[in-house]
Structure formats: structure tokens, C-alpha cells
């Protein structure tokens, strides 16, 4: 971590809970440059020949290992598109932590568009955590447009945790997932926007194999004058099970559009969706205030719990 300056270190803590160099494989990228990398006997990280990103190769059967690939940007005016490909070997079980932190104190916009593609081998299980965070009080915007593509082979499973709680001015998150037989996908998205921020989250999940299942759940809070759109489409092309849910709290002058949608192309596809948008219930505030919290403290507790 000695290669990082204090702002970059702080961003690193926010997005990856990293206070020090992690155990296992990692690749740190700061202001468009790879600044540190570690590989293990089972996990290899190589730069793409054209310099557009990295390939992460996880050997079949790799268990209980982790990969950290955080990105931090602390300079104003950086615009980059990075392609990272994950090749996850059969029957492996790994945790992948990605994330991007931008600190922009300058006048120019800073933008990081990360394109992550996951090729999940047969029977493999991965947990993928992606956190986004922005800070800095300059006029320049902090922009993140992540694209996640997931290709899941037979019997594989993936848990995705997508978190963006603070400081990103504009984001369009696109996730495209294709599942083969008996593959299982669980997505938990947590999103909070404030100020004038815009956040769009688009999911397109194709359940192509019999026995495949997907559960895409989003919890979102829109404060101040921010805007959010949640657009999740689950397509059932086989005897599968799909569920998507968007649960949102709206505050101040926030605006939220929730568009959960389903498409069944097979008579044995079972697909469900739910969406709810509402302000914090008055009785929830009353209860916490009756336990001694002020109205503001009660509101914070309710939101923290909701986004936990």
C-alpha cells in the first residue's frame, strides 16, 4: 500500500475494506496505472496485450482464495475504459472483490467505465463484491459506468453484491447474465443517491438451462433531488425460476422509477417480480423515537438498516 497516497488509501478502505495489502491475488490500479500486483499458484493475473485491462485466470478446483482488483482515481480529468476478464475454473470457490473509488477535487470530470466479464466454469462458486464510492468537493463530476457480463456454465453459482452508497454523480450500471443448466445467480444491490445524482441500474438475466435460477434484489434510497432507475428483465427460456425485487425509500425531492419485467419463453418458466417505493413509515420513526432517538437519528438507523 506504500505506493498509494493518503487519498488513494482512504478510497481503498471505502471500496474494498482494505487497510493493508490483502492476502491472495490482487491488482491495484491508481490513476490509470497498475501500481501493485500479486499472483498465487492458482490465480494468475496478466495484462492484456493491448493494454486495455487484465485477464484473471483461476485454475480449476481453486478453493478459499480471493482476488482483489480495486481501482482508485484521485486526479481530476481522467477518463478510462478498462476491460477485465475473469476465467473461473471448474469447481473452484473464490471471492472476488472489485470496486472503484474516485476523489475529484478538480474542475474536470473523472470517469471510470469498467467492463467485467465472468466466465464461470462448471460447478464453480464465486462471490463477487463491487463497491463504488466518490468523494471530493470539486466542480468536476465523478462518473462510473460499470458493465458486468456473466456467463455461467452448468451447476455454477454466483453471488453478486453491488454497493454504491455515496458520492458518485452519475452511474449507469449494466449487468447481463446468461445461465446454463442448474446455474444459480443471486444479486443483492444496494444504492443510495443524494444531491443531484443520477443512477441507473439495468439487469438482463437469461435463464437458458433447465433448473437455472436467478434472484435479483435491489434496495435503494433516493435523497435530495437525486434520480434512480431500476430496470430488471428476467427472461425464462427453460424450466427455470426467476425473481426480481426492487424495494426503495424515497426522501426529499428524490425520484425513483422501478421497472421490473419478466419474459417467459418456456411453459415451465416460473418468474416473479415485486417493486415497492415509499417514504420512511411514520410509525418506524415513532418507534425509534420512543426508544430515545431524535427524528434524525431514527431516520439514519432506518436507512442504515435498510441498506445493510
Amino acid at each position: 500500500m506504500s505506493v498509494l497516497d493518503p487519498i488513494q488509501k482512504r478510497l481503498m478502505e471505502e471500496i474494498a475494506d482494505l487497510h493493508d495489502v490483502p492476502v491472495g491475488a490482487y491488482n491495484f490500479r491508481a490513476n490509470s496505472k497498475a501500481v501493485a500486483r500479486n499472483t498465487t499458484a492458482n490465480i494468475d493475473i496478466v495484462s492484456k496485450e493491448d493494454g486495455s485491462g487484465i485477464d484473471i485466470k483461476i485454475k480449476p478446483g481453486t478453493k478459499k482464495e480471493s482476488v482483489h482488483i480495486p481501482v482508485v482515481i484521485s486526479a481530476s480529468g481522467i477518463k478510462e475504459v478498462v476491460y477485465n476478464d475473469f476465467f473461473i475454473g471448474e469447481d473452484s470457490d473464490v471471492v472476488i472483490v472489485a470496486g472503484c473509488g474516485i476523489d475529484n477535487c478538480g474542475k474536470q470530470d473523472s470517469q471510470h467505465d469498467g467492463v467485467h466479464r465472468f466466465f464461470v466454469g462448471k460447478g464453480a462458486h464465486i462471490k463477487y463484491v463491487e463497491k463504488h464510492y466518490g468523494s471530493g468537493d470539486g466542480m468536476g463530476k465523478r462518473i462510473l459506468n460499470p458493465v458486468t457480463e456473466v456467463y455461467m456454465e452448468e451447476g455454477s453459482s454466483m453471488e453478486m453484491e453491488m454497493v454504491q452508497i455515496k458520492g458518485v454523480d452519475s452511474t449507469v450500471r449494466t449487468s447481463i447474465c446468461k445461465l446454463d443448466k442448474d446455474a444459480k445467480l443471486v444479486v443483492h444491490e444496494r444504492l443510495m443517491t443524494h444531491g443531484e445524482q443520477n443512477a441507473e441500474s439495468v439487469y438482463k438475466v437469461e435463464l437458458n438451462g433447465d433448473g437455472s435460477s436467478a434472484d435479483v434484489v435491489s434496495r435503494a434510497v433516493a435523497r435530495d433531488s437525486s434520480f434512480q432507475k431500476f430496470d430488471a428483465l428476467i427472461i425464462g427460456n427453460a424450466a427455470c425460476h426467476g425473481h426480481t425485487e426492487c424495494d426503495s425509500i424515497i426522501m426529499d425531492n428524490g425520484k425513483i422509477v422501478a421497472v421490473p419485467s419478466l419474459q417467459a419463453n418456456n411453459v415451465d418458466a416460473e418468474l416473479f417480480h415485486e417493486a415497492a417505493i415509499g417514504k420512511i413509515a411514520g410509525e418506524q420513526l415513532d418507534k425509534l423515537m420512543s426508544l430515545g432517538l431524535t427524528a434524525q437519528e431514527a431516520e439514519e438507523q432506518i436507512i442504515n438498516g435498510f441498506l445493510k
Binding site: R219, S290, L291, G292, L293, Q301, N304, F306
Partner: protein, 247 residues
């Protein structure tokens, strides 16, 4: 000591104004276990909410230990020692049982898991099974009700108001509720407990009974004197015939 003076609560209704609480005055002394009973729609729950500050009166005043709390917020009343158990416990997405108990115990106390365990056992829940559960619809009505009571126990304030604590809970809880109230009375010096209930079992252990109907106090006095007068009316009902026979 809680003093209620000329308290009224009037709401707008389709036929004009409806008086829910009609010019009530009463005093609840420290160290007393007071049960407020009466027919449904008589204003019992509203009176509890007026004491906790959930609703504000149209006129009149409420004094706690001589201090006028009529215009105080729910928080300020809570800080002065009023706890309130909701008739219908509030659900929270994401907040866990332990979170709620920690909030109830207050920042200064920094409640530990062991302490939380004590409160949950008191209401008949095993902490190990419940501490990390979300306070949401995955819990049954009875479980939520017991957790609601546990939050009041964790606060340990001098005045606790329970709005129909027995409503919707199972036999275990019902039989143990009176024990919980008795323990609270022992543990909190000069603590007073106000329970809204028309269950005979709870009325039996009351020091004082207040009967409320149509927003007015229609009877009031020592439990032993009042109970025989209201037995068999809808101000004192048995939980079920089986329990009645057993008692």
C-alpha cells in the same frame, strides 16, 4: 408521578368532530401497576399514545414529575423516562433484533449480547435464534410482540406503558406477562407500569384499575375493589374458556 389534567383529543370525522378523549383528569402514582380497561373504542389506546407523545392532545396537559410534557416530542418524553410498547409492533427491513435492543438500551450502555440475551429470555425467546433476525414480516405476530416488550425491558425506564401486550400472543406469553410486569416492578425502584388491557388475568394483579368508556373515566380505584364490579363485562374478559377453568 404522571398527572393528566383536563385532557381532550378530538378528531375530524365524516359527521363533523369526534371526541376520542373527553376531558380526562387522573393521577398515576409512582410504584403503581395501573391497568386501563374498558370496551373497544373507548379511547384506551389513544390515551396511551397521548402519554407517549405519538399523538398530541387537542387541549389539556400532561405532567411528568411536575414537569409539563404536553408539547414535548416523543424523543424528549423517552429521554425523561417514558417507554411505550406499541399494540402493533413496527417492522423494519434490515434492522435486526439486536440493533433494536441496543438502541433501546441507549448509546451510553453499549449493550452486549449477554445483556440482550437476558431481555430476550425474559420474554421467552432464545437469544441465539433471534438476535440476528430482522425485525420484519419473517417473524410471527407473537414473536414481534415479545420483542416489542423486550425493547421496553431493555430501556428500564421509570414509566412503562404497554398497549394491549397480550394481543395476538400465544398462551406462553400470556401466562408469563404478569410475571414480567411483577419483575419490572421489583427491578425499577418507584417505577410505574401502565397497561392497556381488558384481560382478567392482568386486571387481577393491578394495584389500580381505570375504566374508560366513550373517552371518559367511568370507574377508577383499587384493583381489588374495581375488578368485582366489572367482572363479566367486556372490560374484564377471560383469555379463553379453557384458561378460565384452569384458573
Amino acid at each position: 408521578m404522571l398527572e393528566i389534567k383536563d385532557l381532550s383529543y378530538i378528531v375530524d370525522s365524516e359527521d363533523g368532530k369526534k371526541t376520542i378523549i373527553d376531558n380526562i383528569s387522573l393521577t398515576i402514582d409512582d410504584g403503581k401497576f395501573t391497568v386501563i380497561t374498558g370496551p373497544n373504542g373507548g379511547g384506551k389506546s389513544t390515551l396511551a399514545k397521548l402519554i407517549a407523545g405519538i399523538v398530541k392532545p387537542t387541549s389539556g396537559s400532561i405532567l411528568l414529575d411536575g414537569e409539563d410534557i404536553t408539547d414535548m416530542s416523543i424523543t424528549d418524553r423517552a429521554m425523561r423516562g417514558i417507554s411505550y410498547a406499541f399494540q402493533q409492533p413496527v417492522k423494519f427491513k434490515g434492522l435486526q433484533v439486536f440493533d433494536l435492543l441496543k438502541i433501546a438500551a441507549g448509546k451510553e450502555r453499549n449493550l452486549k449480547v449477554n445483556d440482550a440475551c437476558t431481555y430476550l429470555s425474559e420474554v421467552g425467546l432464545c437469544a441465539r435464534d433471534y438476535i440476528n433476525r430482522e425485525v420484519n414480516s419473517s417473524l410471527s405476530g407473537g414473536e414481534l410482540k415479545r420483542i416489542e416488550i423486550a425493547t421496553v425491558l431493555a430501556r428500564g425506564t421509570k414509566m412503562s406503558v404497554f398497549d394491549e401486550p397480550e394481543a395476538g400472543i400465544d398462551l406462553w406469553s400470556f401466562q408469563n406477562l404478569t410475571r414480567i410486569f411483577e419483575n419490572m416492578r421489583k427491578d425499577i425502584k418507584d417505577g410505574s407500569i401502565i397497561v392497556i388491557s381488558h384481560q382478567e388475568r392482568i386486571l387481577k394483579v393491578a394495584d389500580e384499575i381505570i375504566v374508560l368508556a366513550d373517552g371518559k373515566i367511568v370507574n377508577q380505584g383499587e384493583g381489588a375493589n374495581i375488578l368485582p364490579q366489572i367482572m363479566g363485562t367486556n372490560s374484564a374478559v377471560r383469555p379463553c374458556s379453557k384458561l378460565g377453568e384452569e384458573a
